[in-house]
Symmetry: C2
Subunit: 368 residues, 2 copies
């Protein structure tokens, strides 16, 4: 019996040994797998963090561009403003010397050009403020929001990892239990088989009777371990399913969802921010259009005729036609109009006749 | 006779004296008038020269505005260009660290914003060139043309003045001649009248006969001087007309014509010049519109989904779903699927029956 027992014991030991070696190999594989999963999940989070850092670096570059653009716009507006102011100062200083400028329509044009500068001062100052203040703050907000959102998503991701690690731990224990119970079940089966073989060899009915109780006990043990092994296999299989499903779900659904979540509103916010810039550009565009319209009107108002009239009116004394020269008659000369030669002759003729008559009269007088 | 002669002589002297005093007064008036005309005509030319100087001063101010505006535009373009270049340099320097930027559509947006800067560099450089070179040269041309035109007009004006001075000189001489001839005519008339009175007193026919010749001579002299006086009056009157007409024409027609001529093409040239500026403004406006359209497109191209896909594709190894865990069956366990409890029971039941049958068989064997 000892040999049987021994035999049984030996077989059980063999079972145990092979089970242990298989289990330790599986445990090693499991540990390697768990390490790999842990590594990959962490890599993914690191990768997502890097992605966010990349996005924030680009946002930072965009912000930096607009911060420096704000300086450029500010300088431009400042220089235009100086131009406008200095010309205004010079004009006020020379006001007295320039009092006749108002009679020139190009003065109006010049003034329009100078005053129009302020349109650009205004719109480029707005642009500077938009780029350097509003957009700058907005980009800071976007960066903060993105970081906050990432931290939340990261914690959600880490919670998912914990869930995965939990089922992985379950996997380890169910695997262990399965192999242990399988091993126990095999041992019980072997023991049952052994006792049945022993019983077959026993011929005495009494001995058989006593053996029956032991067979029944082993039968019970076998059934019990078999059921446990079945249950353990089911648990193991279902845990495998759980792990696979969890990893599948995490990688296929959760990670893309996390990415979506991390960038929720990111592009919209940036687009809105850039729209502020575009609206400032729209202003500038409108400003340029105003200039075009204003100066076109000023050009159309250039008027040589009106200029001349205003000028001649202002210098009326200089340009007045001098008084007409009047005829200064010789004392006693009562004729003050031009006489045609014929008229002179007629007059001469009549005077001649008159004088001849007088002469004749004188002669007659003398003759008498 | 002496007394008569004396009388006549005395009367002639009186005539002469009064004529001389009237003439010298008229000459004085004439000189004053001529001086006034000379002064006024010169004043007019001075005034016109001042007007041109005013116009050129305004043109110079406009030119100065655009010269300084060119500097402002140049600085703006230069600063924008620096901004673009420095960002480009930084990006090239950090290229390696930024290799994952391409997976972000905001990188495209950033790049578009940076590259778009060149649009403004381009159009504001053109503006600077237009204001500082083309317009500057054009304004110089306008100033030169205006000055040249003025000099021509001035010489035309001076020629007109000479014409006026010529008729004024004629006026002086015709006035002098008129008064002189009138005086001579009056003297001849007086002498004729005297001799006729003397002849009336002579009773001797012989003496009368000798007197007749003298009367005839004086008659001839009278007629001759009378005709000359008439002619002189006509000349004088007509010269007065000429002077008045010349002055009237000069002031009413020539001066306005000169003003027109001096400014011929002046406003048109300035308008054309300003149109160059407006065309540069139109460019800038178009540039701003390009920015608005380009960036709107870049904003519309922001795509979270594509970004995510590109990213996941690039980091495929990191985000690949780990290999499914496979069921590691216990040695000899051939079931690798989950069994429902019922199935296990059925199997157990059948095994139980099988084992019982075997037991029964063993019993029977033993009983035999």
């Amino acid at each position: 019996m000892m040999t049987y027992t021994c035999g049984v014991a030996s077989t059980t030991k063999n079972f145990s040994r092979s089970t242990n070696s298989q289990l330790s190999l599986l445990k090693k594989n499991y540990d390697r797998y768990r390490f790999y999963i842990h590594f990959q999940l962490n890599e993914q989070l690191k990768c997502l963090e890097q992605r966010i850092e990349t996005q924030l670096a680009i946002v930072n570059e965009i912000q930096e561009y607009f911060r420096r653009r704000a300086d450029v716009e500010f300088d431009y507006a400042k220089n235009l403003d100086n131009l406008h102011k200095q010309i205004g100062q010079k004009h006020r200083a020379q006001k007295a010397r320039r009092e006749t400028w108002i009679f020139q329509s190009i003065y109006k044009l010049w003034d329009t050009i100078v005053q129009d500068t302020r349109t650009h001062v205004k719109y480029h100052t707005i642009m500077s403020d938009v780029c350097g203040k509003y957009m700058y703050d907005k980009f800071n907000e976007i960066a903060e929001d993105t970081r906050r959102m990432f931290m939340k998503c990261k914690s959600v991701g880490l919670a998912s990892h914990e869930e995965i690690y939990k089922v992985l731990n379950e996997l380890k224990s169910t695997m262990k239990t399965y192999h242990q119970y399988q091993s126990e079940s095999k041992q019980a089966e072997q023991k049952l088989s052994n006792i049945l073989q022993q019983m077959a060899k026993i011929k005495s009915a009494k001995k058989q009777k006593t053996m029956e109780k032991r067979v029944e006990k082993r039968q019970m043990k076998y059934t019990e371990t078999k059921v446990k092994a079945f249950k353990a296999r089911n648990d193991y299989l279902m845990t495998i399913e759980s792990v696979n499903a969890a990893l599948q779900k995490y990688c296929s659904d959760d990670v893309p969802d996390l990415i979506d979540c991390m960038n929720f509103g990111f592009h919209t916010s940036i687009a809105k921010c850039i729209q502020m810039y575009l609206s400032a550009q729209e202003n500038i565009k409108r400003g340029r259009q105003i200039t075009i319209e204003t100066l076109n009107r000023a050009i159309a108002d250039l008027d040589t005729v009106v200029d001349k009239q205003k000028y001649l009116e202002y210098y009326l004394t200089v340009f007045t036609i001098p008084k007409k020269i009047k005829f200064e008659p010789h004392k006693g000369d009562e004729v003050s109009t031009v006489n045609a030669q014929v008229l002179i002759r007629d007059e001469m003729q009549s005077r001649f006749i008159q004088i001849q008559n007088r002469l004749a009269a004188l002669k007659t007088e003398n003759d008498e």
